[in-house]
Symmetry: C2
Subunit: 211 residues, 2 copies
Amino acid sequence: MSHLPGPMVDLVAALGRLPGIGPRSAERLAIHLVQTDSRQVCDLAQTLVAASERVRSCERCGGFTEHQPCRVCADPARDGSLLCLVEKPVDILLFEKAGSYRGLYHVLGGKLSPLQGIEPEDLSIPALEKRLGIEPIREVILALPTDVEGDATSSYLARRLAGRSVRISRLAHGLPVGSALEYADELTLSRALEGRRAVPGTESDPAQHHD
Amino acid sequence: MSHLPGPMVDLVAALGRLPGIGPRSAERLAIHLVQTDSRQVCDLAQTLVAASERVRSCERCGGFTEHQPCRVCADPARDGSLLCLVEKPVDILLFEKAGSYRGLYHVLGGKLSPLQGIEPEDLSIPALEKRLGIEPIREVILALPTDVEGDATSSYLARRLAGRSVRISRLAHGLPVGSALEYADELTLSRALEGRRAVPGTESDPAQHHD
């Protein structure tokens, strides 16, 4: 890359550090940017800095926000008795895009990982317990990832919150909507079988027969 | 995207205007950037502005450069008798990466296109003729794209420069017809350079002079 002027080499390197941008994309972007009107590039730079400086974590739920509290926490139409517990701020966006959830959120900020030294105190578990003491929350929905650490964290939280008069639930495991059986892995299929539900109007939930 | 804070919506929109970055990539990048340390984002913004403000066109050849003249034009080891005529500044980078060319360059700044109103005076043809009058150039290598407009521009230039005591050559047909320079691999580009041929009616084949 020695045939590029110095400032372009720096730009290619900086762009190449962004996720999902390889060396060729970084070079293509840099070439585009130096051929773009300087004012437009300044605008892009200002937009970058503005987003970086003005977007903060909501002090209540931990989601992305410009103002305190965030739009979801401040919305009186949301159901304050439901609290969805997610790992990262970006997970909130996924639920909001899905559009069917009308409760509140709480961002845990990670998963328990003894190997990496991530203990309960490193996550926002104390803040969660504080919220449970103050807010009229009646159900906590565990929506952590279904990997080993996510499952361990969910189990830990279920035990830790067991004494409280709050319902603890988990997202259902099963087949993705719109996919064929043959694309489901064995574990997902087993979970889908375990969590099967009665077809409305036929009989009661067969899963309850296990009790 | 109404579930994103305003500054992030702006950032997603700005990133999505860059070439090769779709709406999903733009959102992923924006989410990454607001979670990145503000100082790093400021550094990226400054690198952007620096590249945009400090990278200019070489006043002699039209290539990208920080200083006047560019590194290629200023290099006394380059063969000043050879001039490679390219469409865009980025094409120079492709030859420099291939590494086999040791002459100088001239960026035309486009292709003739009567339909889009691009006439010879809109391109750097007068500057090329001025260089031919001043510099000890003995061969002009036409390295324009092999599409219809590129071919028409090459033919026009071959006719326009025919009266001068300068050899006019073209890159060898080894390039896939109908594709732009940037899709050629480095070896193909080197071979095309080696096998360049005289434009019929101007002078004899320069490649045969090597025999």
